[in-house]
């Protein structure tokens, strides 16, 4: 992260303010990046003119090196989330198709209208799998009698 994006940094209070150009980062990207840091920092977002201000304060004491590293991580996270958002938008139709296929499958309906169901649920015996000509499904006790071991 360039110096200009770190607006202020104070290791004594483990605080830092980042300044980001509004036009570069969609709001969803800012939220997603900030969300990642909530477990280790107190995050406050603000806006001043055409810049977002991200106020970060470590939940634990942080030295200057660690704070600068955190600023870099935040910048990386912004880029990663921006890419993720772009991929989602690009593949939106594909994602929806896959989801609808999965839901159709879970609902037990044939995915394609002309594809016949494998088992007739109204008359399962007609499919033959309930026939047991060799008596395989007959329990041992029924075949040999309850007294035999």
């Amino acid at each position: 992260m360039s110096q200009s994006q770190i607006e202020s940094l104070d290791a004594a209070t483990a605080t830092m303010t980042l300044s980001l150009e509004v036009g570069l980062y969609p709001r969803d990207v800012l939220y997603a990046a900030a969300y990642v840091f909530l477990d280790r920092a107190y995050v406050l977002l603000d806006r001043s003119g055409d810049r977002y201000q991200v106020h970060l304060r470590g939940k634990a004491a942080l030295d200057e090196t660690t704070l600068r590293a955190m600023a870099g991580e935040f910048a990386n996270e912004l880029l990663a989330q921006a890419l993720r958002l772009r991929v989602v938008h690009t593949n939106q139709r594909l994602i929806e198709d896959i989801a609808s296929l999965a839901i159709s499958g879970a609902a037990g309906r044939a995915v394609h209208g002309d594809e016949a169901a494998l088992i007739d649920l109204d008359a399962p015996g007609d499919d033959g799998f309930l026939d047991d000509p060799l008596g395989i499904a007959v329990p041992w006790e029924s075949k040999k009698g309850a007294g035999e071991q």
Partner: protein
């Protein structure tokens, strides 16, 4: 932020009001919250902050308000 009262300003373009109110409900056992709009910001007056609480109630409240806003926005897009 460890005083018995504090004021927080949350930008209206970045924080949803119901997300702020839900965060306030979450911390209602530890402080009293009054939310009002003032220009570009929601102003949250936090009073009666429980001094016995281990942690920063106001800062945690801000984190919750941000998390609620982010989740709400993500859900509304889904």
């Amino acid at each position: 932020m460890s005083a018995a009262q504090a004021t927080v300003r949350l930008h209206r373009a970045l924080y949803a009001e119901d997300a702020i109110r839900r965060a306030a409900e979450t911390f209602t056992d530890f402080a009293a919250f009054a939310v009002r709009a003032d220009g570009d910001h929601y102003v949250v007056d936090v009073t009666d902050i429980d001094r016995e609480v281990d942690g920063d109630v106001v800062a945690e409240f801000c984190n919750f308000a941000l998390a609620n806003t982010a989740i709400r926005r993500k859900t509304s897009h889904a």
